[in-house]
């Protein structure tokens, strides 16, 4: 059955971007309002799907598949070898990720109010970026997946390079080249699979990919690991991401750390484990070790940073290690933890980068040595910051706790020794988060003189919403676990567990 709803959902931001072009560029308020409004349809539609899904509607009914194009017309007018369909569809996992993208896009558009110039270009690019993100999660075949993935590449290059901080152009180049290489490797895998099987449909490939010789499977998985490892990012492929997180405008970093990094995790789970479960099993220990390295490396370096943005960037590296640990464990708890972490870190990092952006605007610095005693001056901002910090270090009752707990349960079931080493990361996390957050909120009063405005409504709204989501997942994890369960079961069936 072909349903229009996913197509509308994915392309509504793009349509919004097209409409923006007709608003004269001097009308700042109108552009900002329209930019924000254009993110709404996707949010509402994903909400509708979420509710319908919760009420028991089959998730297949939202999918669409129509013939798109054909390749390989040998006899010039004769028969075709390769057909590609336009097919969108979702399962529990992609639905959650899509909702995450829609929510963060709206919040990021709302938080974009302090962009100083070129609003029209900025919002158009932000909306194109949103279509790319939504599309990646909705894509049912690899070609579409790749197209949407690349659709995020170009707007990000401009958003970083034009609206970022002082080192923005260099950061944009880092972003482009690293991710370009990652995408190129992914494309090789996709075309190889296409050439060998004649289909790019993810579901069909899950059945067919098992027929490849074990060596080929392993090779393809390694390629995927590198390709998605750039996006995730896995140490040592992470250097670009630090530049981006420090230099890009904060609302863009919200989206980047909240959603774009997760595309790496999503791809690894959906394509990596989904198609090559046996090869993944072979690499399981190696992936767990990679994850541990990520976790510890990120945490150690976060500990010695003085710039809050850099602390958060390294903290993202560290937290993505938990995703890898969970995946490498290859058991239900581990995979659940990895998926939970993917979603939960999306909220937490988005919130933290929102706050860091707000601080940067108010104090013109994010160096924790020059910030202090915020609790007295800006009680609302520091209150949210404190809460976000707690979520980041995995305090029970917050979403981070659930995901870390599950992922570590996964690793302790298979590799308790490695788990013990990885657990050091949790202590380090507590140390660097507390050090940063406490020195900013309490301690000696530093920073700009005079009174500064606390959160206004369009800054406070995204912050409260994100905090609400973080706590609700923490208190009521079943809200996430239930829709995710079928997807996890599919993966487990593939593994044979």
């Amino acid at each position: 059955m072909n349903s229009l709803i996913l197509t509308l959902l994915v392309f509504s931001p793009l349509a919004g971007a097209a409409l923006l072009l007709f608003i004269p560029k001097e009308k700042e308020r109108a552009i900002k309002a329209a930019g924000l409004a254009a993110t709404m349809p996707a949010l509402i539609l994903s909400g509708i799907i979420l509710i319908q899904n919760a009420m028991g509607a089959g998730i297949e009914r939202f999918s669409v598949s129509v013939p798109w194009f054909k390749m390989g017309n040998v006899s010039l007018g004769g028969e075709y070898f390769f057909t590609v369909n336009y097919e969108l569809g979702i399962d529990g996992f992609s639905l959650i990720m899509m909702t995450l993208a829609a929510v963060l896009a709206t919040l990021s558009a709302s938080a974009s109010s302090f962009i100083r110039s070129g609003w029209k270009g900025y919002f158009s690019l932000l909306l194109i970026l949103e279509t790319g993100m939504l599309g990646v999660f909705a894509a049912e075949n690899l070609i579409l997946f790749f197209i949407f993935l690349e659709l995020t590449l170009v707007p990000m290059f401009f958003l970083i390079g034009k609206w970022g901080f002082a080192g923005r152009e260099k950061a944009a180049w880092y972003y482009l080249l690293y991710n370009g290489i990652g995408s190129a490797i992914l494309l090789i895998v996709i075309v190889y699979l296409f050439g060998m099987t004649g289909t790019v449909n993810i579901g069909k490939l899950m059945d067919l990919a098992g027929d490849f010789p074990a060596g080929v499977q392993l090779g393809l998985l390694l390629a995927l690991l590198v390709s998605f490892g750039v996006k995730l990012p896995i140490v040592p492929l992470h250097t670009w991401m630090l530049h981006v997180h420090v230099q890009a405008p904060p609302p863009v970093v919200m989206l980047h750390s909240g959603v774009l990094l997760k595309i790496g995790a999503y791809g690894l789970i959906r394509i990596g484990i989904g198609m090559f479960p046996e090869a993944f099993q072979t690499l399981g220990t190696a992936i767990m070790i990679l994850g541990t390295v990520n976790l510890l490396y990120g945490a150690f370096l976060a500990l010695i940073q003085t710039d809050f943005k850099r602390i958060l960037a390294y903290s993202s590296v560290s937290h993505m290690g938990i995703v890898l640990i969970g995946l490498g464990a290859m058991n239900e708890a581990g995979i659940q933890g990895a998926i939970f972490q993917t979603v939960s870190h999306g909220f937490i990092s988005a919130l933290l980068f929102l706050l860091v952006g707000l601080m940067a605007v108010r104090f013109q610095t994010t160096d924790i040595r020059e910030l202090g005693g915020l609790a007295r001056k800006l009680p609302k901002l520091s209150g949210v910051l404190l809460a976000a910090g707690m979520a980041s270090l995995g305090l029970p009752g917050m979403s981070g706790f659930i995901s870390e707990f599950m992922a570590f349960m996964g690793i302790f079931l298979v590799q308790p020794e490695l788990g013990a080493v990885a657990a050091i990361g949790l202590i380090l996390t507590a140390a660097y988060v507390l050090r940063a957050v406490l020195s900013i909120t309490f301690g000696k009063e530093k920073g700009a003189e005079g009174s500064l405005p606390d959160l206004n409504w369009h800054e406070a709204a995204p912050a409260w919403i994100l905090l609400f989501l973080i706590i609700s997942v923490g208190v009521f994890p079943n809200g996430l676990a239930v829709p995710l369960q079928p997807a996890i079961e599919t993966i487990m069936k593939g593994i044979g567990g």
């Binding site: 054909k70 390989g72 017309n73 690349e150 170009v154 190129a184 090789i188 296409f194």
Partner: protein
């Protein structure tokens, strides 16, 4: 051959060529008899009408069966039709750019238009020819027209240099090609490709095989000149830089297409049908050499393009890179997609390259240079042009949503559906693509991030503007729906 036999041929097959020829003759005759004072600009539209007319007739001829005249030295088969569509579309689009060229620079307007048509005529003949003679004559007609066109900015030193380099290098390359062809004639005793196939299939003397292999390599080397591929690529940047920009576009699109036509026509009829060593054809046997040349071409083109600060030279090197990509498809002769891949790539390349040259031409006119700095702040000056240029550059870089991506995808797929999947070559191709991001996005960075010196908006001749719009539309359309043709 008497008059009766001549009359019995179905000359309709050649009608598109005859229309182009008629246009060329008409323009030069009118140029001679018209008074000196009369403006010559309208003659240009006459030429455009000839190309458009030839295109229309060709489309009308499309449903017809494969048929040959003049002893099968001229045939209109599926291959000829498809490639002539490319040639005519490319020539027509780029022809529109000539109206933008400054009159003070290209003084001999009517010669310009005539040469354009004769060059096109040569290329069209090549796509229809089934024997070495017509192939070679077509090639020379195209080449000589191009040599003169490259030097049409008579007062410009660089243009003179370009013409000089082009004619000398081109002469050498032609001689090499002809030398290789003479081997073919020597072994088979015929110039007809059809007869040659028969001769070669029954070839038993292994010494002949060696000579045949040699002739393959020699011809390929000579033809690499035409498609601007290694090892014969050195002339490209200088000639591209010196020639009038519309001529550069002609060279990079029409001339390159013609080169591929010649390669496919010759190699797929002759060398694919020789069975040597356990039934393997010579072409398949030569595959490793082509693959190496493809890799070299991609690497040289893209890496050298990185250093260029002159956008025209950058596009010249990028065109070397693109030739390399197409050679990847050519290196996979067993793939069912090989033919598709090259054809579609040429189509995509036509749109994206012609469009980019249209913008480059206008910028060059306005600022007097094709340096990267001329693109600085273009987004502030002419936002729409900057966005269009952006789309064309994305396509050249092979970003999804554009024809360039679909073209690369087809080539990659053909590399993987070859009997032996060419993983290394495909990897090199993608590595080269990522390298190309650097110089294409560098233009972006100049257009969108940097502050420019010039303040005025770009002014387009309506014809050039139309060409630009068609090119961008084609780039997007074939990127989203590659299947519509």
């Amino acid at each position: 051959m008497d008059a009766k036999t001549l009359m019995s041929y179905n000359w309709m097959l050649m009608l598109p060529e005859l229309i182009v020829l008629g246009g060329a003759i008409l323009i030069s005759v009118l140029d001679l008899i018209l008074p000196k004072k009369t403006g010559r600009e309208w003659l240009g539209w006459l030429g455009f009408a000839a190309i458009a007319g030839a295109g229309t007739v060709l489309l009308l001829l499309t449903p017809s069966e494969t048929e040959g005249i003049l002893g099968d030295s001229f045939v209109l088969d599926g291959f000829a039709k498809l490639f002539k569509i490319l040639l005519l579309a490319g020539a027509a689009l780029i022809y529109l750019l000539t109206f933008q060229e400054k009159k003070s620079e290209v003084t001999e307007r009517s010669e310009f238009f005539t040469l354009w048509l004769t060059g096109l005529l040569g290329a069209m003949f090549m796509s229809s020819s089934r024997d070495l003679m017509t192939l070679f004559v077509g090639l020379e007609l195209l080449s000589i027209s191009s040599y003169i066109m490259a030097g049409l900015k008579k007062k410009d030193q660089k243009s003179n240099e370009a013409a000089m380099k082009y004619v000398i290098n081109g002469g050498v390359a032609t001689a090499i090609t002809l030398f290789g062809m003479s081997y073919l004639y020597g072994i088979t005793g015929t110039v007809s490709l059809t007869d040659m196939i028969g001769q070669l299939q029954s070839l038993e003397n292994t010494d002949h095989l060696f000579v045949l292999g040699l002739s393959f390599l020699i011809i390929f080397t000579g033809l690499s000149f035409k498609i601007a591929a290694a090892p014969y690529h050195m002339w490209v940047p200088d000639v591209y830089e010196g020639a009038p920009t519309s001529v550069t576009a002609f060279l990079s699109v029409v001339s390159k297409t013609a080169g591929f036509i010649l390669i496919i026509r010759l190699f797929y009829t002759v060398f694919l049908n020789t069975s040597i060593l356990q039934g393997e054809s010579l072409l398949m046997n030569m595959q490793p050499y082509i693959a190496v040349l493809a890799a070299l071409t991609m690497i040289i083109g893209n890496v050298t393009a990185l250093k260029q600060r002159n956008v025209k030279r950058m596009l010249a090197y990028s065109s070397i890179g693109h030739a390399g990509y197409m050679l990847v498809a050519f290196a996979s002769p067993q793939s069912p997609l090989m033919f598709d891949a090259i054809w579609f790539y040429l189509l995509a390349y036509l749109f994206m390259n012609a469009g980019a040259f249209a913008i480059l031409l206008v910028i060059e006119q306005q600022t007097g240079s094709a340096h990267l700095n001329s693109f600085s702040g273009l987004y502030k000056r002419s936002p729409i042009v900057a966005v269009l240029m952006g789309i064309l550059l994305l396509s050249l870089a092979g970003i999804p949503g554009t024809a360039g991506f679909m073209a690369k995808l087809t080539i990659l797929l053909s590399a993987f559906t070859n009997q032996v999947p060419m993983l290394i070559l495909a990897s090199i191709m993608l590595a080269a693509t990522v390298i190309s991001y650097v110089y294409y996005f560098n233009v972006f960075a100049h257009m969108f991030f940097k502050q420019g010196e010039a303040e005025t908006k770009l002014r387009f001749h309506p014809a050039a503007a139309a060409a630009l719009l068609i090119c961008t539309a084609g780039t997007i359309l074939f990127g989203l729906f590659p299947h519509i043709l």
